[in-house]
Symmetry: C2
Subunit: 211 residues, 2 copies
Amino acid sequence: MQIAIVLYDRFTALDAVGPYETLGRLPDADTVFVAERTGPVRTDTGRLAITADRTLAEVPGPDIVVVPGGPGQTQQMENRALLDWLRAADATSTWTTSVCTGSLLLAAAGLLKGRRATSHWLALDHLRPFGAEPTGERVVVDGKYVTAAGVSSGIDMGLTLLGTIAGDEHAQAVQLLTEYDPQPPYDAGSPQKAPAHLVEEFRAKSRFVLS
Amino acid sequence: MQIAIVLYDRFTALDAVGPYETLGRLPDADTVFVAERTGPVRTDTGRLAITADRTLAEVPGPDIVVVPGGPGQTQQMENRALLDWLRAADATSTWTTSVCTGSLLLAAAGLLKGRRATSHWLALDHLRPFGAEPTGERVVVDGKYVTAAGVSSGIDMGLTLLGTIAGDEHAQAVQLLTEYDPQPPYDAGSPQKAPAHLVEEFRAKSRFVLS
């Protein structure tokens, strides 16, 4: 099963690596990192580069599409080459998925019309103009479209889809081997749980950044 | 604050990316991926490569050392160049850390003698011959040595250390922005919680692999 994970300048690393490390453990996974050009693609911090091993054109028909998010997503919203590829790949994919603001790219490609979907909590409202129905859930499955909330939620999305495709026991084995028994030292991982002033601070900043 | 994340052939991606995405969000972080040679370094699946931007020799005195684990760790246990670098870097580091079987490399470098430490649940017993005291905890802080359990635990380790260095509020902000509000679809992330036959199966396999 071919899994294409899409890279672009200033993506967020964990958005891509979460699904890679979980969903990518499908028994017959043929995972490939793709981008417009092959070679290293830098993340949002500039400090990490993941190699794109194939161009988008070289991987026209993956079984599973994974689109990560990150600050660089904004610049891709009008990238015709990427959006065209997403539409074409989606036409034959078994699953079309995203993490974080990757869902805005699926939406911009016209793939989430009338679908329930999620995104980074700061970006949820941006789904609506594309005809998608935003939900605050961490992982949303609507038909073959699976979207995950911010950054780390790609791990939960990957395990969820892994279980659906390969069975609960295989997904549990991967959870055990990745020792995914989360014990965050704080309970601030969602806008409902984090200190209110932090949530407000980031909402104010994002109105500026995302507008 | 310079954070050196060590790469070697067949490391596990999430081991490195968890701390990168959390600890690497220190306000003054200067994160650098290092390896014996610069260029792409392949993970255990062979499907992902992260670029080493500097050689070990070019980064002699990082403030924080992060050593990921993965199947490739076994081959590094007698790599004098790496072990010498770890000892030298540790001599001036503020924090020396590991994820998963990365702790076995710290142990092999002689850095965990008499220290409490953790590792991947399948590798815990291998700490003892190096004079370390294995614990089943997810994140273990003993002096300046911070070790994390398997793969995904590097996220919890990164947040823990981030809070210690930059304060609780900064760590909570990073948890909120990475939306780290884990909701695994299964509860099988530790040998205590996973189905017993899976735990046994992997213990049997690892006796073969690790012996």
